[in-house]
């Protein structure tokens, strides 16, 4: 268990963490402001990835592909909000789950219809290929470092927006008292559409960024969606700070567990059993983490106390 291996795995964990943050920030904002549980957030991630892969295929530009992912997902999110989602704010969670479950079916099959069942590929641009050399003799792919940086920049920008801008103040007010901000003359339904489209564009960006290291295919969004749920349950639903902390915790636990649990178990088991048991436990590690956090704090690390 060398230092280099450890450092690489920590970076992998961070990379997974910041990508999860892009997903969970939108989810938690949408829940915090509108009180909506959105299962279709994974579909917006997928739409982002498909938009990016199509535009990259047409133009060859990675930057344009990312812009396409952002705008494509935002537009899809805005339309879905206006057509379907806004009818659900006053409904109970069961209706929200079902309606957004129905949206997943529609989006997934619709995408399969248009693009076929074969995965698309989105290439890492040449200027982001190859390794970087970090102090301590660590070699790490430049693209993954870029992902971590983009994630951190977006997180900072999101914090700035929410803490310092007018729309951010409205979002925070919306979390606290919906009736009051409507009474102050703010167009609340416009605000909701903006928040939903913002969350959608973050998910779309994550889909495009991750799409370049995995394949772009139907159903790619749901595993990430469920991880994002784990994140916001750990962090506390509605809390951006919680989403950040939860993302990093989940990213690190998942990555480090998968690598090191089998190795630790090898100390007192034979190698094949240790690998088997280790990988089985590692696949459950984040859920065990979630269970532990909930027993300690039933509303998550930064959730509001009931």
């Amino acid at each position: 268990m060398s230092f280099v291996l450890l450092a690489e795995q920590v970076l992998n964990g961070l990379q997974l963490g910041v990508m999860l943050f892009l997903m969970s920030a939108g989810l938690t904002l949408i829940f915090g402001v509108m009180g909506l549980i959105n299962l279709a957030h994974g579909s917006l991630y997928m739409i982002g990835a498909f938009a990016a892969a199509s535009i990259a295929g047409l133009t060859g530009s990675f930057i344009l592909a990312l812009l396409a992912a952002l705008t494509g997902a935002a537009i899809a999110g805005g339309i879905v909000e206006m057509v379907v989602i806004r009818r659900l704010y006053r409904r109970d969670h069961l209706d929200q789950v079902l309606a957004t479950f129905a949206l997943i079916l529609i989006f997934s099959e619709g995408t399969r219809w248009v693009f076929g069942s074969f995965p698309l590929y989105l290439d890492i641009p040449t200027y982001l290929q190859g390794p970087v050399f970090l102090p301590g003799g660590i070699q790490y792919p430049l693209y993954r470092i870029t992902l971590i940086l983009i994630g951190l920049v977006v997180a900072f920008a999101l914090w700035l927006m929410i803490a310092k801008t007018r729309i951010g103040i409205q979002i925070r007010a919306g979390e606290n008292d919906r009736e009051m901000i409507a009474a102050l003359g703010i167009d609340i339904s416009k605000l909701y559409t903006i928040v939903f489209a913002l969350g959608a564009s973050l998910a779309g960006l994550a889909g495009a960024l991750v799409g370049a290291i995995q394949s772009v295919e139907v159903g790619m969004g749901e595993p990430v969606l469920i991880l994002a749920f784990v994140v916001i349950v750990i962090g506390g639903i509605g809390s951006i700070k919680g989403a950040m902390v939860g993302s990093i915790l989940v990213g690190l636990t998942d990555t480090l567990g998968g690598v090191f649990l089998p190795q630790i178990l090898q100390l007192f088991m034979d190698i094949s059993t240790a690998n088997n048991v280790g990988s089985s436990i590692a696949s459950m590690a984040i859920y065990i983490l979630m269970g532990g956090v909930l027993i300690w704090r039933p509303t998550g690390l930064y959730g509001s106390r009931p």
């Binding site: 829940f31 549980i37 379907v84 009818r87 969670h93 069961l94 209706d95 789950v97 079902l98 309606a99 479950f101 129905a102 949206l103 997943i104 079916l105 529609i106 997934s108 099959e109 619709g110 399969r112 219809w113 749901e222 469920i226 749920f229 784990v230 916001i232 349950v233 639903i237 088997n276 990988s279 089985s280 590692a282 696949s283 459950m284 859920y287 979630m290 269970g291 909930l294 027993i295 039933p298 509303t299 998550g300």
Partner: protein, 327 residues
Amino acid sequence: MISERLINIILIGLLVIIPAWAYLADEPFTITLMTRAVIFALAAVGLNLALGVGGFVSFGHAAFFGLGGYVMGILAWHAQSYTPFLELPFLIEGTQSMPVIWVIAVILSALLALVIGVVSLKTTGVYFIMITLAFAQMMYYFSISWSAYGGEDGLSIYVRNSFPGLNTLDPIQFYSICFIILMAVLALMARLVKSPYGLALNAARQSPKRVEAVGLDLHQLQLLAFVISGAITGLAGALFADLNRFVSPNMFSWQLSGEFIVFIIIGGVGRLFGPVIGALVFVGLEHFLGEINDYWHIYLGLILLLIVLFSKTGVMGLLVKKEAHHG
């Protein structure tokens, strides 16, 4: 208006007449479809106790369905490969006897529901939905990573398990087993919701504070409902695995958890026979839309969306036009 009782009788009639017709007309595929519908109905009847009567939306009932499936798969696999399941500290052999498998599936699903329930029922609302979902995902990934039992490929069982005195490979006989189990469980449910316990559980959904104020233990009420609910869905899983003679991690998939909820919603929340209508409609749509178009899930999604947005009562509600009395 038709009474709910009449609809229930008509439904039971359909469940008898359609397979009987299929048997006489020599249409084994129709019998298999009906078996599938009956098993799905059983799984959703289990969920309905938690969701409809108890009022907590479990989005992770595939955990129990899959566990039941794996109980069948693992025991039958050991029996067909003549290897013991466990030698130490005491010998446990595999088995191909359905009743034994059912009992074990019910007990283990109940235990899993107890563990999941103890953690999840500390929370409510959205947290509960997400946590049950996460637990089911945990089982899903666990089954994929456990390579001893097929991992991602699952387990195939060559011969359907046996039931004393019956030839279970004959579609109509296996259907009869599933049908009788469904009827027995529905009868049990009908009694349960009218029992003092069922009434208390119903009250706990409508007004938790009052239930606590009269001195009932809310947590215990709900936990018991969750355990019974999980056990029934686990039994359905064992039957489903036997129907396909195959079990794979897909039985733990979150889509399946979602579909169980869909059955209940299509039929009508909290109605005793709601899940039965829902499962019949779903399997029917799956079959007929699937023949027209490979992308039939789009239509399913649209239908579901329309039901949620514009009709809150499901098929039962449309037919009966009376408030569900939740059981």
